[in-house]
Symmetry: C2
């Protein structure tokens, strides 16, 4: 069963806009999302997040992003990738990701 998935993500149908916005309303998380906005998997160890935070804090933000419905986690042995659920998000919230990428 997939119940053992250590990194479960909410069904997009259950994702609430307000939760997505709250997840985006943090400098570290917004920066992460912008980086992974291409929809490709990015290694969590990428040293170019540009964030001056500890690895436990970074892990916390990854979890918040995932639980809000923004991202999914892909496990490769001992390394993880983070991926924006771009297609699903674009369908559920048209224009939202585009809007936060256009630097204001």
């Amino acid at each position: 069963m997939a119940d053992d998935d250590p990194f479960p993500i909410p069904d997009m149908a259950e994702v609430e806009l307000v939760d997505v916005l709250r997840a985006l309303g943090d400098p570290a998380r917004l920066q992460i999302v912008r980086k992974v906005a291409d929809g490709e998997p990015w290694p969590k160890t990428d040293d170019t997040w540009g964030l001056n935070i500890s690895k436990s804090t970074l892990s916390h933000h990854f979890r918040t992003l995932r639980e809000s419905g923004l991202t999914r986690t892909i496990v490769h042995g001992r390394t993880h990738d983070i991926q924006l659920r771009r297609a699903e998000l674009d369908k559920k919230f048209p224009g939202l990701i585009d809007a936060i990428l256009r630097e204001g």
Copy 2:
């Protein structure tokens, strides 16, 4: 001088996207913004906000919205209107307001 303005708003040039998103990342505030999304002034006393909160809490949210750059306050004697800074926001963050209005 306008320094006495009791409800100062930030210059749109100084408004940060992350602060706007954080302001929107609350159920009460998101609902308010959606209501005033037409860009018209709405009386704060409007009894159709649909929020079950005290007037002091409502006042707190109005302040948060204003300080984040989303709204302005228009004083009419003892009553106040709240107005979304729609045109400015659309220019600074194209598509953002539209995106949060499209019910996902």
